[in-house]
């Protein structure tokens, strides 16, 4: 980045370098964005990450296979169950292990509930960044209901450790399925409530339409995934394209946007709320009887080899690349493809030419979790 200084002019103008974060209310954690401003217009920006780096990948290479589930919780901490499932499925793929149908159904329910919880947090903070603070508290009110469901299932509310390789740690508690269905009924009304406050709100539309437009080809070139990619009109959803868990038995649509702006990304996620509810309803009503854990060997020690497995986390394509050397009880190499990290690549491109106020809207729009970006 270069600074342009016009010497000799009567009124020298210079770019203002504004450091946004890592301690800033709207950078969603510890993201640091160094902005170069011309007035309030963003000329360029540098995204600085690494403030939440805990070396999870390296740590994992020194833990045995079952212990790693715990570490995956700490990556995308607003959607811990999704990270858990992603990791367990990767190891199962490496072990060529069959997971019972009941376990796959419960995993689907948990992951979709998690998606709703994660999107609740997103809609709340995104709206708050744009100044609509009431939506934040409404969304957190409903997220609380999901956390209660999770608490009942596995005892934890944020970092669940809710999966085991080969299946579930325990069966769903009695009456849980009924509560999930009750939640679905409540939630479908509440989504309308959020939409009432935002979707047709003139200020909201003006603040988000045409902001951070990214075309489908650019989005693919930047490696965007998840809602930011679908907002640009690319119908890429791992759940549909490479089904895992019980998604091949579920009926749902993949919402896509047309304009690729902040408003479309917003609409895509709002529709994903509804589709997730649809999946949760189907899975909960069709939950089969049977065992919850497959035939897991006493000592997990996959044969030498490597595998990549991706799932659709609320943020996008969450992939695990794991190498086993076949000799030790821990992975030889453990690598995560975090969707937030890939989506964050697009931020610089998105904010150029917009105003400071749009920067916070755009950070919210790509929905990053820094725990996952830095790992």
């Amino acid at each position: 980045m270069e600074t342009t200084v016009h010497h000799g002019a009567m009124f020298d103008t210079d770019e203002l370098v504004l450091n946004m974060g890592p301690q800033h209310p709207s950078t969603h954690g510890v993201l640091r964005v160094v902005l170069r401003l011309d007035g309030e217009k963003v000329v360029d920006c540098d995204v600085v990450i690494g403030y939440l780096h805990r070396g999870i990948e390296k740590l994992s290479e020194n833990r045995n296979w079952t212990q790693i589930v715990l570490l995956t919780d700490r990556m995308d901490y607003v959607a811990a169950a999704t990270s858990n499932v992603g990791y367990c499925e990767t190891v199962e793929k490496l072990l060529q292990l069959e997971v019972p149908r009941r376990a796959r159904y419960v995993r689907t329910i948990l992951m979709e509930l998690q998606r709703i919880a994660s999107h609740c947090l997103w809609v709340g903070t995104h709206a708050m960044d744009i100044g609509a603070m009431t939506v934040f508290l409404y969304a957190f009110r409903e997220r609380e209901l999901i956390l209660d469901l999770f608490e009942e299932f596995c005892g934890a509310r944020l970092t669940y450790n809710s999966m085991r390789i080969g299946g579930l740690p325990q069966d769903i508690p009695p009456g849980w399925a009924k509560k999930v269905l009750e939640f679905c009924d409540i939630m479908s009304q509440k989504i309308d409530e959020y939409e009432e406050l935002l979707t047709h709100n003139r200020i909201w539309v003006e603040r988000t339409k045409g902001i951070g437009v990214i075309s489908a080809s650019d989005a693919i070139a930047l490696g965007l995934c998840g809602p930011p990619l679908r907002g640009s009109g690319v119908a890429r959803d791992v759940r549909k394209d490479e089904p895992y868990a019980a998604y091949d038995e579920m009926e749902f649509d993949v919402p896509v946007g047309t304009a690729g702006d902040t408003y479309d990304r917003y609409l895509v996620r709002m529709e994903e709320f509804r589709q997730s509810l649809r999946i949760v309803r189907q899975a909960t009503e069709g939950i089969p009887e049977g065992p919850i854990v497959g035939k897991v060997p006493r000592l997990i020690k996959p044969a030498a080899g490597e595998t990549y497995h991706a799932i659709e986390s609320p943020k996008g394509e969450l992939g695990y690349f794991i190498v086993s050397d076949g000799k030790s009880t821990n992975p030889y190499r453990f690598r995560v493809r975090p969707p937030s990290f890939c989506n964050l690549q697009g931020l610089r491109r998105l904010v150029k030419g917009h105003l400071v106020a749009d920067v916070v809207a755009l950070i919210g729009s790509i929905d990053v979790v820094l725990g996952e970006v830095d790992r």
Partner: protein, 340 residues
Amino acid sequence: MIDQLLIPLLKIVIVLNATLVGVTYMVLLERKVIAWAQSRLGPMRVGPYGVLQPIADAIKLMIKEDITPVRADRWVFTAAPIISMVPALIVYAVIPFGPTIHLFGRPVSLYITDINVGLLYIVSVASVGVYGIILAGYASNSKYPLLASLRASAQLISYEVAVTLTLVSVILMAGSLSMVEIVNAQYNQHAWFVFLQPVAFVIVLIGGLAETNRAPFDLPEAEQELTGGFHTEYSGMRFALFFLAEYANMIVVSSVVVTLFFGGWLPPLPNTAWAHFLYYVPSWAWFLIKSFCFLYLFIWIRATLPRYRYDQLMNIGWKVLIPLAIANLVVTGIVKVLVM
């Protein structure tokens, strides 16, 4: 002696204290109303239902460390909160809370003073207040406050023009700049000016929101963008002064709107024979009820709406409100001439 010194002094003391108490409780009201809107309870710990919360807040703010950044411009930094607060308070001098009443056999007017350029006084004093924000941003010598003060000056220029132009059409209706005369004019014309000047009312309301930096125009203090904006570097009582000034200004704006468009202390259907029973409610009560409705509206708006962007706000000001204000003024003038 009593009429010239004691009574005005007493009125000043009462109005000043009532305002300060009103402002602190305005903060509580805002917190409560927003909490209810957001399915929360709001302050509940200090006193029953949190009614003593403003006192706790005040104590906390007073005993907090008063920080002046090393690189700040000390004098301007100190002066800025005062420049913000003082105009917000002295505007109350011309706001009529009621007509002249008889108290202990002595005529007492329910306003501190009635000057013949009352409205002009309010407009000019209120615009001084924004210097507090601009100077605070400049003196802090910090980037976020600087951006905020730029926003504040842009906002001031965009909205002051529209609001002042609109006020002229109200003045045309009343034929006077005196606040008391404006209320009397509404009495004589048998109608609140909101029915005769609806466009003017909308412009003044929007402009009032913008001038008091309230949502959806709270750009200079946008917490999510500018981390508090102009008061980022302020702490303790100096911060509190900015905070109180904002709420005092809110009360001013609602009082002005009530006086100009909702008949001030007059009940609905002023000067109408069959609606005379409405006069049993004291005049100052009408004034307070109507002002309260507007304050509630301000809070309600804050709980509901997102925030406009800086350039959009300028667009509304220059491209919508100012042409509308001019058109309104011209139409008012023509109609006035034709009627006369």
